[in-house]
């Protein structure tokens, strides 16, 4: 069928489900999506250029604001990059604290995604649960950093705040309360026959697709590609503790949900071990003083909730970077839509789009479905969500 007879469906630039501005043009043949075109640039803030005008120390607070959800991932990768130029080894205590912050962030980010995915499927109970259990995680952040988001924990040579014995006990207590609730949530999602019906076989990405697009994180691991920066190129405390990389083979949306949910349990395991080590080695430095960054190239990466965050920093010996390149995981995960959406129905396209947990910065988006022939709106964002939720209800009705 020629493109002129296909219905053209713009999703974006603003969309109530996902947080940020982007614009997908879906070309549909009846219910089936045949082609996806993507546009962005609605919120480009020129952060790389801004960083070149800041000192190495100040850059932490700029890159922390790249992402509102995983606000520690960028400082983490930047610290790995900039510390590799002079070859600094941070104190052991700082390594454990860094890992704790990184893993807490993974838990809250994954819960956020599970909640949104649940809402999108018409499972508002999942949404309520996931976001309710995300709150104690944010409380934990508040205990150790003073903030629910944008923690400002990282600095060159270590971290800015210690976690004391009393805080360790508080955190362990919250984790004890959280673990059974996580088990319940994970069981409820993974064993639900309707969620199976909605997510299995939808938006499949093969291992070859992952390689072609350079996709990372849970998106890659759900397609059986065992990559995880924490294991492949260990940083912080990840080579000092016992944990495992979670993978799934199917490559569909369900597999991505499975990987994220099971990673929550791994993260709890990692945090517990880090806290134990902190309590055991009570005391010690949390940062070392770094006078200057010599000329050279620093390349660092870190495993964010959505996948590898990559930072490239070039120094000429002055107090600021001459070049700072940032690659967020969504930059390589989003183009996989072209593979995961084509051939899906419109009501599945939205969850396939959401499956890689796309992240740009933080605003709203909107979906509208237009009639290609006369340009009149057929569906708005709410209708598109309703369409997805209705499909779940239909499945439940048929059962």
């Amino acid at each position: 069928m020629s493109q002129s007879k296909q219905a053209f469906i713009p999703i974006g630039p603003y969309h109530p489900l996902l947080e940020e501005p982007e614009y997908f043009k879906l070309y549909c043949d009846g219910e089936i999506v045949r082609e996806v075109v993507w546009e962005t640039g609605y919120n480009h803030r020129g952060i790389e250029k801004i960083c070149e005008s800041k000192t190495f120390e100040q850059v932490f607070y700029v890159v922390e604001r790249i992402c509102g959800i995983c606000s520690t991932s960028h400082p983490f990768a930047y610290a790995n990059a900039v510390e590799s130029i002079p070859g600094i080894e941070v104190p052991v205590r700082a390594k454990f604290i860094r890992s704790i912050v990184g893993e807490l962030e993974r838990i809250h980010s994954h819960l956020l995604w599970v909640g949104l995915a649940g809402h999108f499927l018409g499972y508002n109970t999942v949404f309520m649960w996931a976001w309710k259990y995300r709150e104690p995680i944010l409380d934990m952040f508040e205990i150790i950093t003073g903030n629910r988001n944008s923690y400002a924990m990282f600095t060159i040579g270590g971290v800015r705040r210690d976690i004391n014995e009393a805080q360790c006990q508080q955190l362990e207590k919250i984790l004890d309360q959280l673990k059974p609730k996580m088990d319940m949530l994970i069981g409820a999602v993974m064993d639900d026959p309707v969620i199976h019906a909605r997510l299995k076989g939808v938006g499949i990405l093969t291992a070859q697709d992952i390689k072609d697009y350079g996709a990372v994180g849970p998106t890659a691991r759900a397609s059986g590609v065992r990559i995880d920066v924490r294991r492949d190129d260990p940083y912080a405390a990840y080579d000092m503790i016992d944990w495992k990389v979670i993978t799934a083979e199917a490559g569909d949306v369900f597999a991505k949900a499975e990987v994220r949910l099971l990673e929550i349990l791994e993260s709890i395991k990692i945090i517990r071990q880090c806290l134990q080590r902190l309590r055991k080695e009570n005391g010690g430095d949390i940062r070392i003083k770094v006078k200057e960054i010599p000329p050279g190239v620093g390349i660092g990466h870190a495993e964010a909730p959505r996948g590898e965050v990559f930072h490239y920093v070039k120094s000429d010996g002055a107090n600021r970077p001459v070049r700072h390149k940032v690659r967020a995981p969504s930059y390589t995960n989003i183009p996989t839509f072209r593979k995961s959406c084509v051939g899906q129905t419109i009501s599945d396209a939205a969850i396939a789009l959401a499956a890689v947990d796309p992240c740009y910065c933080c605003t709203e988006r909107m979906a509208q479905v237009f009639d290609y022939s006369n340009g009149k709106p057929l569906f708005g964002g709410k209708e598109l969500i309703r369409l997805s939720q209705k499909k779940t209800l239909d499945i439940q009705g048929k059962r």
Binding site: D212, I227, H301, Y312, R327, Y331, T332
Partner: protein, 147 residues
């Protein structure tokens, strides 16, 4: 067998004895190889297919000696990041597109085209990625100001 950085250098140099103009071991996990732009496609293909490296991203900057492009690949089996450093002259800012080799590289080539005005011959869709359509033609925000 777990490869270390010397093994990787040996394998790459055996395949491309003359094409690698500079080898810098930044640290045991980071390798920087200086290459000429005419060899980029072949060497990238070798890394991507034969060594099963993962494409990460391309960093581009406007340096004094020309536009410097660093192609980052990750050898995930060993965790080593291999960086191909290519410098292209200011007067002729173009370098072959790798989209036919690595489909995921499409966006970053468009981004570099937006911000630095570098052309990528054989790119299937070299339209603007981040800059608005109304942005002035020939004004490249990441280029250094003429001194």
């Amino acid at each position: 067998m777990i490869m270390n950085i010397e093994d990787l250098i040996r394998i790459i140099k055996e395949k491309f004895p003359k094409q690698i103009s500079g080898t810098e071991i930044i640290n045991p996990q980071r390798l920087l190889l200086g290459i000429d732009k005419k060899d980029l496609f072949k060497i990238s293909g070798f890394l991507f297919h034969d060594l099963d490296c993962r494409y990460i991203i391309v960093s581009a900057m406007d340096a004094k000696e020309g536009f410097e492009l660093v192609y980052h690949f990750s050898h995930d089996k060993s965790g080593i990041i291999i960086n191909l450093d290519v410098v292209i002259p200011h007067k002729q800012p173009e370098i072959e597109s790798l989209v036919s080799l690595i489909p995921g590289i499409e966006w970053i080539e468009r981004e570099i085209h937006d911000f630095l005005g570098i052309d990528f011959p054989n790119h299937p869709n070299l339209q603007r990625l981040f800059l608005a359509e109304s942005w002035e033609e020939g004004n490249y925000p990441y280029r250094r100001k003429a001194e």
